[in-house]
């Protein structure tokens, strides 16, 4: 009618209820080679702690504070993006009623440093601050209010230094050095064939400079938790993503043996990489060390969380790509500049993820990539869902659309012709084990339907278009980095299967996966399993909950341990029943004779018998597949990653070409997850990834001025709402990974990676202009369309 397509008004009738059923019903495409399962693997099951979470009995960090806090801590932060700390005057703060102590760098007994790869981040800055979130002191008080008043009363004298606001400023001659080695933190490269001459010989070449924005993880459950020192052990209960590494970092920074630091994960409300870098663990631990026997609490509010925490790397990506007359890709030449902010965090690994994914799922014979991580006085940047593979996918998919247009060929055909097939290699030269890029593309197109663009006439200011993306993602740390998971499985006194794993469930359902795997392997029902995770003193190390590795690594470790335990159980049962173990088999929660039905004992009886003789029925296993370090000169490795995941998206948008508003009308996402252990959780991950991807494509952006975040809250850090995301149509593809538990690969990161370029591609299709700068908010799209 009036072209009121845009969503600033609530329609009178509740929208989309009928459609909503559709997407979740999309059937899974199973692999014909998949291992047979009889138990819970492959069946959707409710989140193990779902009821506790929604009824408030599961305790988050903030709940622990409400119940247990004796004392409260607050962090004094730098008021400048870059300055020397001349002096810290704590006198007035100590006079504030209720304030008990003000701790500075002098009080930190260990290295006073942390950092996931390079330990370059001071816990409390001593002589220099490098971003506005840098911590300078900790105030401990009897109440939270007193701690805040004390924090505000600490007087820090600074000598302000020039602020380095951007990559460009950081690389300009004469720029102040933010780290001893200069502002280029490091980088990675690819040298494969001869990209320069291949580009020169290409039939067409397209180049573009992409700019991606700073993104915040915006998990709902802001940093909060408690710590207690009993004179022997420092127990810290704060949500992270890798409890064992957090214990090591706390121990190192505070000067304790690692055995004396216990990290226990409370319930976490999201992470997305935002809990990978250590947050409040060291601060609250430091405060607790000072007050033995007291439980010390620390929490951020949203603004402090946004000001303190690392972010997704904003990047400048200069990309040139060529194709021959037949529409085959010839070469790619890529230079990437990544804003690392003040400290290294996982930046160097992000650089490497960028280089190793530089040409995505496409066959490109000649590749030259240079990635530079550059320090600025912005917040440190680190892990966030996709870990660099997100930003580079925006670039390579953007190039595919541009090249197809220049060649005058269909963008889907062009992709089909260049996607890797069995036997083809990705950027690193690795021949991918199960390349399903083409299958994902076909499946997503099938679901979208070839004629599904509505053809009703639109008012002149509205344009409709659809876009496509195909992406790949190397699972796990890769690059020869030690990557391992341990798990222990035992039979509890009640005969239940108990699974101990260091893996962290950040809300995504890792606990379900390992419970399902254990139950499947042991042949018991899910209700006969119990999962104990993420406690450094109870659970074996399982590595981080990151890199889309939890299902694959923790799942495999649990499966191996369960397999071993089964053997032990049969042995023990054989002894108990006086038969050879081969005569016995598992039947649910019992062991019975294969041929003699009379032979029977329950798992509970076995445990009781074993305990009487003084031993436990348990098994521990290690899963540690190896990858091969990429050659530092060429970036090549025959096994850079253990396996690859693939995905394809189609997004349909409506663009108001006068105002620049963009609305996603439909979004279809297909992902090869190897095997969907918990299909509903897989769809949840895909849906969530698409939501975050739409946020990144269209609206999310941390805005800095002079190193200050102008929008440290959800009033102006714009996240998508339910009105900005159509019901996501999820297509789950199973390819049966040879190494994965029951064939599973994983699903965490790829859905976000695929979503962003699909939305951009749709805007291009709708308007004829290809976006290169994110996010595509109304003003930017308007600027792109009008040339303003």
């Amino acid at each position: 009618m009036s072209g009121r397509a845009f969503g600033t008004q609530t329609p009178a009738a509740p929208p989309r209820e009928k459609e909503h059923v559709l997407p979740t019903e999309a059937p899974i495409t199973p692999s014909p080679f998949a291992e047979k399962v009889r138990g819970p693997v492959g069946r959707s099951c409710d989140k193990i702690d779902g009821v506790e979470r929604v009824t408030g009995t599961k305790l988050y960090g903030a709940d622990l504070i409400a119940r247990e806090a004796d004392l409260h801590a607050k962090v004094v932060r730098s008021e400048h993006a870059h300055a020397e700390v001349v002096s810290i005057d704590t006198k007035e703060a100590l006079r504030v009623d209720g304030v008990l102590a003000v701790l500075t760098a002098e009080d930190v007994k260990g290295t006073n440093r942390h950092g996931l790869i390079r330990r370059d981040h001071p816990v409390l800055a001593k002589d220099r601050v490098r971003y506005r979130g840098d911590a300078v002191a900790i105030v401990v008080a009897k109440t939270e209010q007193a701690a805040a008043a004390g924090r505000d009363a600490v007087k820090v004298e600074y000598r302000v230094l020039p602020t380095v606001e951007s990559i460009e400023q950081a690389m300009a001659p004469g720029a102040p050095h933010l780290q001893p080695g200069g502002n280029v933190m490091g980088g990675r490269r690819i040298r494969k064939g001869d990209a320069d001459s291949a580009l020169a010989d290409s039939h067409v070449v397209v180049s573009e400079t992409f700019r991606t924005q700073t993104v915040d993880h915006a998990f709902l459950d802001v940093e909060a938790g408690v710590a207690r020192w009993d004179g022997e052990l420092l127990t810290i209960r704060v949500s992270g993503q890798w409890v064992h590494e957090e214990a090591r970092l706390v121990a190192l920074a505070l000067g304790l043996p690692v055995e004396r630091v216990r990290i226990i994960q409370p319930a976490a409300g999201g992470a997305f990489g935002g809990r990978e870098d250590i947050s409040i663990q060291i601060y609250v631990g430091l405060a607790a060390l000072r007050f033995a026997g007291k439980t010390v609490a620390l929490r951020y509010d949203r603004a402090e969380s946004m000001r303190a925490r690392h972010k997704r790397h904003p990047m400048r990506i200069e990309y040139a790509m060529g194709a021959d007359r037949e529409g085959r890709l010839t070469a790619a030449k890529v230079a990437i500049y990544s804003d690392e902010g003040a400290y290294a965090s996982t930046g160097i690994a992000v650089c490497r993820k960028m280089s190793s994914h530089a040409t995505g799922p496409y066959r490109v014979p000649h590749v030259r990539v240079d990635v530079f991580g550059v320090h600025t006085n912005n917040n440190p940047t680190g892990a966030m869902r996709g870990f660099g593979a997100t930003q580079i996918a925006i670039a390579y998919e953007g190039m595919m659309d541009r090249l197809a247009a220049k060649l005058g060929v269909d963008r889907v055909e062009f992709r089909r012709a260049n996607l890797i097939r069995p036997g083809d290699a990705v950027t690193t030269g690795q021949v991918v084990p199960s390349p399903t890029a083409v299958e994902c593309l076909e499946a997503v197109l099938r679901q979208y339907g070839s004629k599904s663009m509505p053809s009703e006439p639109l008012p002149t200011h509205l344009r409709r278009g659809w876009g496509v993306s195909v992406i790949c993602f190397g699972m796990g740390y890769g690059d020869g980095f030690p990557d391992a998971s341990r798990a222990r499985v035992r039979i509890g006194a009640d005969g239940c299967v108990e699974v101990y794993s260091g893996i962290v469930d950040v809300g995504q359902g890792a606990e379900n996966v390992i419970a399902q795997v254990a139950a499947e392997e042991m042949g018991v029902g899910l209700e006969h399993t119990r999962v104990i995770t993420a406690d450094t003193h109870m659970t074996p190390e399982s590595g981080s909950c990151s890199a889309t590795r939890s299902t694959f690594f923790a799942g495999n470790a649990v499966r191996l341990a369960a397999g071993e335990l089964k053997e032990k159980l049969l042995d023990a049962a054989g002894e108990l029943l006086c038969v050879h173990p081969n005569e016995l088999e598992f039947r649910g929660e019992e062991i019975r004779g294969r041929f003699d039905e009379g032979l029977c004992c329950s798992l509970g009886e076995l445990v009781a018998a074993a305990r009487k003789r003084g031993y436990e029925l348990e098994a521990e296993a290690l899963f540690k597949p190896r990858t091969i370090c990429e050659d530092f000169e060429t970036g090549q490795s025959p096994r850079a990653f253990i396996t690859y995941m693939f995905g394809a998206h189609v997004s349909q948008v409506l663009v108001d070409v006068e105002t620049g508003e963009v609305r996603v009308e439909r979004h279809v996402a297909c992902h090869d997850v190897g095997r969907a252990i918990n299909p509903e959780a897989v769809r949840g991950q895909i849906t969530g990834g698409v939501v975050q991807g739409i946020g990144m494509a269209l609206m999310e952006e941390v805005v800095y001025r002079g190193g200050r975040i102008l929008n440290p809250g959800f009033t102006d850090y714009i996240l998508p709402t339910v009105r900005d995301v159509p019901p996501v149509e999820c297509v789950v593809l199973e390819s049966n990974d040879p190494l994965g538990p029951y064939g599973a690969k994983g699903v965490g990161e790829p859905p976000l990676i695929g979503a962003v370029p699909a939305v951009l591609s749709a805007i291009y299709d709708a308007t004829g202009k290809a976006p290169a700068t994110l996010p595509c908010n109304p003003e930017r799209v308007w600027g792109m369309l009008t040339g303003s």
Partner: protein, 279 residues
């Protein structure tokens, strides 16, 4: 400390007695946010949410009379298009269920959606004092400067009134589909006599009227018959839209640049005038 009067007379008495440090609160959706952000830490509140009749909606002799406590959810149901659409564009369901028109006017934000819509509808606001009685103030005289109004500290906003026979249209540009602060919003009202009123939000310190643009449409003549009730030529619309772009005085902020906002004034005025014309 909470004062919770249950009738308006009591509310007005309390307002006049209590000092300005006692903050009037209705839905609290602005007051509480300011507290959370540490902008204000009031010790005491005069809470109007229990006052009888605060949310009454009447239509008498071609005039709508809304109690100050009428919520966006209520306004969303009124057959007054600009106001209803503006109300539907506010926040999410929770905010629409508690946020009120008096609060929107009281905050006097340039981005106040309800305020912008009312401005286009030629609305007046009733400011009442326990002894001095009430006075009706036209909205253009009510908004003084950035978040400053003609409301005296001892007064309350009690009602809002506007003619019920205006045709009106509304559009808001924001960064997302809900809980969406306007980058620019525009409401246009047309009286039965064919006089246009154009209101713009987020392009100046207060919700503003685009007087130059209105002049293009309404001419200088007060003669109703002279006005272009019938047909607005594209060319006239374009001149009005251009005038709106020129008279808007937005600033650059983290939400948008001034240039974009100016350009959008033109787009929205053009689009909404065509919509009024073409139905």
């Amino acid at each position: 400390m909470f004062y919770q009067p249950t009738d308006m007379a009591e509310a007005l008495r309390l307002r006049a007695e209590l000092g300005p440090e006692v903050v009037t609160v209705c839905g609290g959706t602005d007051v509480v946010v300011a507290m959370n952000h540490g902008v204000a830490r009031p010790e005491a509140f005069l809470d109007l949410s229990r006052v009888a009749g605060r949310d009454s909606v009447e239509r008498v002799n071609g005039i709508y009379l809304l109690g100050g406590g009428v919520t966006f959810a209520q306004m969303a149901k009124l057959p007054v298009r600009a106001l209803a659409e503006a109300a539907r564009s506010v926040g999410g369901p929770q905010i629409r269920n508690v946020g009120t028109i008096a609060g929107n006017l009281g905050t006097a934000s340039p981005a106040g959606d309800g305020s912008v819509a009312l401005l286009a509808l030629d609305a007046e606001v009733e400011l009442s004092h326990v002894e001095r009685g009430s006075r009706w103030v036209r909205l253009e005289e009510f908004f003084l400067d950035y978040k400053r109004t003609a409301l005296q500290p001892d007064e309350l906003i009690t009602r809002v009134r506007f003619p019920s026979d205006f045709e009106s249209v509304w559009y808001k540009i924001g960064k997302r589909g809900a809980v969406n602060i306007s980058i620019v919003c525009c409401a246009i009202g047309r009286s039965p006599a064919g006089a246009y009123r154009i209101a713009l939000g987020s392009v100046g310190p207060v919700p503003m009227r685009a007087m130059e643009a209105e002049a293009v449409l309404n001419g200088d003549s007060t003669d109703a018959a002279h006005r272009a009730v019938a047909y607005l030529a594209d060319e006239v619309i374009e001149r009005a839209a251009e005038a709106a772009e020129l008279e808007a005085a937005p600033i650059d902020d983290q939400r948008s640049s001034a240039r974009y906002r100016e350009a959008m004034c033109r787009v929205l005025v053009r689009r909404l005038l065509r919509e009024l014309r073409d139905g």
